[in-house]
Symmetry: none
Subunit: 231 residues, 2 copies
Amino acid sequence: MRVVIARCAARYTGRLSAHLPLATRAIMVKADGSVLLHSDGGSYKPLNWMSPPCTMREVAPEPEASERGVALVWVVQHQKSDDRLEIDLHEVLSDTEHELGVDPGLVKDGVEAHLQELLAEQVSLLGDGYTLVRREFPTAIGPVDIMAKDANGASVAIEIKRRGEIDGVEQLTRYLELLNRDPLLAPVSGVFAAQEIKPQARVLAEDRGIRCLLLDYEGMRGAEDLSTRLF
Amino acid sequence: MRVVIARCAARYTGRLSAHLPLATRAIMVKADGSVLLHSDGGSYKPLNWMSPPCTMREVAPEPEASERGVALVWVVQHQKSDDRLEIDLHEVLSDTEHELGVDPGLVKDGVEAHLQELLAEQVSLLGDGYTLVRREFPTAIGPVDIMAKDANGASVAIEIKRRGEIDGVEQLTRYLELLNRDPLLAPVSGVFAAQEIKPQARVLAEDRGIRCLLLDYEGMRGAEDLSTRLF
DNA sequence: CTATCGATGTCGTCG
DNA sequence: CGACGACGTCGATAG
């Protein structure tokens, strides 16, 4: 990612036409070529931007623009439409670049969080003698939803999804691979728990020795209500 | 504006709960206190953020977090709600600050308004012998974008959208129903004009006897340029 | 102030 | 790939 602080002006043409008068702004150029022009306030929405896929090209300014103080022009062109963003750079105050790598992305804990909470309380749903170690068990590549021990005291890593698909199985597989390198924990077995498990995900999981567990959300909520009412 | 490049993890609680696993990201702290967490790809939307008004507070990590490598925690709290963003900073790779000043903001050239203007000038695009009655023709439930007459002198109500979807057809239908109650105007036919018309909108419109007209914005702009250059 | 609507909406899911 | 609905929607405008 490249971050440039510069006095600049900009023009956008595409679904509409718009322009930005000269001011000092932060320009973010992402690895996929997308460009964001941010001011020092407002919401998360940039003043102007170009979404990927797009390409950026540095061109010399027209003589007339050069006279107005434009040192360099960035032409950002979308690859699938005729959307185009042109940035007139008048003065670059800072220009830095950093290698960020791929991002694992945001994990939303909606129903999934509630399922996790319920299963942590009703850990016996996993089988007789199961006990909870902790929720959000930390690892270097992210937290495991639930860590438990079975009746024999062996570790069990549980990945919870609302809808169980292949990527969830892959995620659990990565956790298991990592956890099984730890001699204090190994052997760690896996449980893929979801309200709904797609056939392909089930096949992949079982092929890897991961147990699949269908969760009855309504039933679990009912059990919770019952226990809170009784005790 | 402060720009920090750091290996970090984050948690958000508010309208939903979500977390970001550890990764290297760009953190933007704006003058109004708002915070944006960007990855090196995707669109202009940050992975996570806090909108103003909000306050940021640096706190020391819990001992347990410290063991996991958390050097510093940023707690960003919204001032009017209980939205909260916590960022675990593991390693700060860069931390810079720049004075940007107030931004004059984006200046837009309207699109729907421009389409209306262009079609009013180029009313012959509707068909031979069409004439303009007026733009923004007033009715009790709001103005009709363009009122025209066809070659036979019959009234035609035109609804203009950039993207024609079902709600636009519904809107025009309401106008037509009202206008056709007026014996001085009736019968009034309808034209749904847009740069792009969704299939469902087209089906609905044609089922109701409303004609669909695709508008070529670029072409219309070109025609305008030509006429202004010629005369 | 709230209600409504448009957006360079963006983002997921499903067919 | 395209349609459809949800969004931590955001933001402007009318009432």
